[in-house]
Amino acid sequence: MTYIAKPKVAHPSLPRNELGLTTRDYEGAVSTLCAGCGHDSVTAALIQAVFELDIEPHMLAKMSGIGCSSKTPAYFVSQAHGFNSVHGRMPSVTTGANAANRHMTYIGVSGDGDSLSIGAGQFVHAIRRNLNMCYIIENNGVYGLTKGQFSASADIGSLPKKGLPNQQEPIDPVSTALSLGATYIARSFSGDKEQLVPLIKGAIMHSGFALVDVISPCVTFNDHEGSTKSYSHTREHYNHVIDVDYIQPSEEIKASYKQGEAMPVHLHGGDTIILRKLDRDYDPTSRADAFKYLRDRFNAGEITTGLLYVNEAREEMHELMQNTDTPLGQLPYEDLHPGSEELQKLQGRYR
């Protein structure tokens, strides 16, 4: 935890985005997480991503539950909307917010405890609905706030700081999301912002449920030898499969990509992401291939990262339900409240 606030002084030649803002304008309160926490790097990546996407702060909603991870929304874009919900209930609160106003950008920040234990049910159903949001799991394999007990994502054989190794099967959020039909699934590492920032940008612009599972080491309770979620273990077993370059509609595709290694994916809004495959055999549009690949690599002891699966064809929640495009708050009263006669008619259809 830092005692003084980050000084209000900036590099004079800091770049400005389309809105005339710098990354400093997208910062939040000073972090009270442990020094060296991976979550703070995720925060920095989020700031960079929303800055580069020229997102207007008032059009951003930051959603979270409980846990170290869920403090993250306090640390970026102070001027944005935020909701710090009950433990594990961020997905349903986000569903409600999104239902009321589909024009906003929703970033949910959760952790392995918040999403894979207490909130597992919420997590899987948000995927099922293909809720249009960027869902970030800051995954460190332990319950940091309660002093380092194993979480549901801890690997078999991983050693705690004190005590016996974990014996239970881990829940892998990426495989889980794949099996449930999530439409944008990525894994990254808090210590690799070059990979993480474009993945978050793609996730924000993706229409539908976008999961970014970020290995985010707990520097206090899970960064020792024998841990499978430490900085050094993650770096040693890092398998970088696919890089993403996010291309805004206004930008030309300038970089040269080798045939077979580059794959453009057109997003709903007209933006494009370019996937750069580092492993040519990998096909990120095939769920079956992705499953097999992930399993094989996991068994080989590797941590597979990159944009692992993407499907732009499937419709997101509002499209599936044919909801109005207008935010509920902007609908005229008569439309929002059609009266008891209309209600009677509607109920009649179910009799």
Partner: protein, 605 residues
Amino acid sequence: MKPTDTSNPDYFHKVVDCQWGCPAHTDVPEYIRMIAQGRFSDAYMENRKSNVFPGILGRVCDRPCEPACRRGRVEDKPVAICRLKRVAADNRDDIRDRLPKVPEKNNGKKVALIGAGCASLTVANDLRPLGYDVTIFEALDTTGGLMRTNIPQFRLPPDVLDEEIDYILDMGVDLKLNHRIDSMKELLDEGYDAVFVGTGAPKGKNLEIPGRYDSDRIHIGIEWLESVAFEHVTEIGRNVLIIGVGNTAMDCCRTSLRLGAENVKVMARKPRGFFKASEWELEDAEEENVEIIVNHSPKEFVYEDGKLVGMKFDLMEYNIDEQGGIDRGTSTGEVLIPCDDVVLAIGQDNAFPWIERDLGIEFDKWECPVVDEETMMCTREGVFFGGDSAFGPKNIIWAVEHGHQAAISMHKYCQGEDLRDRLPDGLNLISQKMGMHEWSYSNDYDVASRRLVPHVGLKERFQKLDIEVELGFTAEQAAKEVERCLNCDIQTVFTAKLCIECDACIDICPVNCLTITHNGEEDDLRTRLKAPALNPDQALYVSEDLPQTQRVMVKDEDLCVHCGLCAERCPTGAWDMQKSRILIPYAVDEAASDQQPAAAGGSAK
């Protein structure tokens, strides 16, 4: 790039821009912290160690430290270092018992110092405590040299001058006033073990144009200022032209206003931006309604009935190239400007008519002595030069530094030691961590802008010649201004083997000066940092290879505000904030090392 060698004291010294930029290397952040703590006497002594005349320099220093100040790059205005020095001097207690002690018995060596200005006085200050018998010869009937004769009393009150000069004279210096040295040969024959020449650059430059010698109303700036200082001149005409736009010109125009001039114009040959005067001296003059007229090149003095009535000038036009260079200009016409008096302030020269040319003291084609820049010795062994007399007009703080170096050389010469075998600078690094989030210094960035020194009112100040215009900072102003110092001597020190590459330092750095990246050549690396390193004068601090990815940590020193957040956010203590103390040796340290040869560097106190 190779890992940065921080064991070389110059590396961290250079990060302390003000100290590096000061010819005498005054430890500025250290004394500013002392002022912040109300330790004015300590701050004064810290200053005195290196610059000898804090009260004087706190008013009239050329302040090379301020353009160097990092705060001037982070924002636009540097810390008011010079005026804080004055705060220390004005608020000090009696410090006489803290001055260097003089041994009861002299060491048997005699040295002669010519001129009682700042250079000679510094030599005396450094050599008397070693037991040297010091004699100062001064042509005038008072001490201080140029500090007294050329700096007007409204900028530097005589009592400030006297007090600090007396500290040195009271060490038991044999001062011979009204004792002009007319022959170096005769002086050398008197058997001194070493001789120091600190006679300044006493000859004002002349302007050889038609009509120059037809009036007694055309004055040479530094001579005229001296006459004013000694009250030989007490008035001047209503319309005065000052030729030249250096700091002497500023003193001349402001002095004219106090002697009855009503309309003073400073005539500059070149446009603004090419003036020699310091920015602040120009401001002070313009505050007093002095008109600065640019692009006027003097052509001739104009007379009517034998009386000086004005000057003719060529109107100039210049081409300025992209690098900011200016050509010689072309005349586009001429203009007559009426005046009663003209003061020529276009520069000064050295003058050594009293040094015989057959003594083995070589002079170059500009009639300047050939002096070794390290030892300050001329081509005749045992004769040393310092201040303006050595390399032409510079300023007080350079003269002080020359004095320190000459004193070391004179000591070594007298002891039969090799003049070039000098103690190197030393370096101490001490962690400033006091607790979890506690540092021994005020690390929170204060957004306050530079405080302005209050001045005496525009009417009141002209009533007498010796009313000091600047009042000095108030207590509140000083308390605010000290917080603007970035504590650049509290260094960010990195230990690569402890780093786990969590990026915490990079994310928290407010000025984006840290990057972890793959190593490369400096030119390439400078473009790949989180914010490009565009200032080539500022170093990159490059670490050894990091343990996990073999990348390197790179810090661009340019804009670091030394807030310590990198160290505070570092989970492993790879970053630490450590105070660098540059140990600069003086004559007293050279003398001490004769007994204890192992000690490198000077003493910290």
